[in-house]
Symmetry: C2
Amino acid sequence: MARRSDHSRDELTRMALAAARKIIAKQGLRGLSTRQIAAGIGYSPGTLYQLFEDLDDLILHINAATLDGLIEACRDVDLAAGPEAALEELARRYISYVGNNRGLWNAVFEHSLPEGRIAPDWLRERTRSLLGLAERAIAPLFQESEEAARRHEAQVLWASLYGIAALATAGKLPPGESPETMVQSLVQNSVAGLRSRRARP
Amino acid sequence: MARRSDHSRDELTRMALAAARKIIAKQGLRGLSTRQIAAGIGYSPGTLYQLFEDLDDLILHINAATLDGLIEACRDVDLAAGPEAALEELARRYISYVGNNRGLWNAVFEHSLPEGRIAPDWLRERTRSLLGLAERAIAPLFQESEEAARRHEAQVLWASLYGIAALATAGKLPPGESPETMVQSLVQNSVAGLRSRRARP
DNA sequence: AATTATATTGACCGACGATCAATTTCAATG
DNA sequence: CATTGAAATTGATCGTCGGTCAATATAATT
């Protein structure tokens, strides 16, 4: 019951997050508990409350890291390759990443904060960053001045992608339906639709 | 500690579901507990286990009822009014219903079963029914023989709608972005895209 | 060496989901 | 109407949970 100095505070934080990630990946958010995390790193549950505000805060950090992984996976996509190609590549990596991190991805949208509490800015920034990718991908379809419309359409695409991935990872798609083909349809329909609607508005 | 016969088994079930709905609507899934439900109907927690398998089962019933409400709200949409009109009306009611039942809707996609357990058929039927609506709405864009493609595109639309509604009810949309305009963009882009892509495949 | 600050813990709180023997009532039987 | 058997309801109870805190042992500072 004292200072151990086996690990620095940052090390401890990383260890806790890693342990929690492992649990979520294997058993989902349901299986996550402070006691399990603590057992995983050889400390007592109380120590976690020195690293994180509470379990919600810890989960938010996990989710931020999950989004960071997705951002990283999309980092070197050629956004100037044309709307179809760029969006398709983004969507492909999105689905691939989500598929390889089902449990963690589920946690992103299964988690919700208690009644009054609001998501922190540093988490929202992650989704804003992902939105920016989609926005740049479809930029050729818009005038420079149409920033609002560009953002709006990117938001629609992002939300749609989100829906497809969410249903897929939660196992709520009928058998025979794959998220890969779904996002492909989404992208092609959306881009074709944007082209034709913006040609004759 | 005995048979009361104040209420029939069905009455009790309805009361329990109503009490649970009230809690979810006000405090979300987090606030739901067997003890709170039991207190809400003046019975002990143990009694609930005679009406439902466990708390998960109860939540699944709640979610089924929530989906039934949406189905009911979409019941009299004129699906033969053309793809754009039909889909837009469906989407409008979808967003309206979800907006009026935020907590309950959140529960639909926040809830997940423990590791091995699978969603019951009677719940999947609900989503299949909603999928059928979208499928009929876009039917004019397909040949009779293209059943697979029709179902596939309906599934994409349904999942996209789902994503928009999910982000909206979870408060994860940026300010200034409304789900109403988003679904309108989605529908118009998708239909226009389908038209143009199917004209020149 | 003495003092201050801080990290860590075990014990503890209230609440949770779930189970079950005990008990009381209802329904069926004679 | 009396007896029996089935069913429903409960309180007690188990193990677990998130979270708090005084006690304590170590590290840092003087």
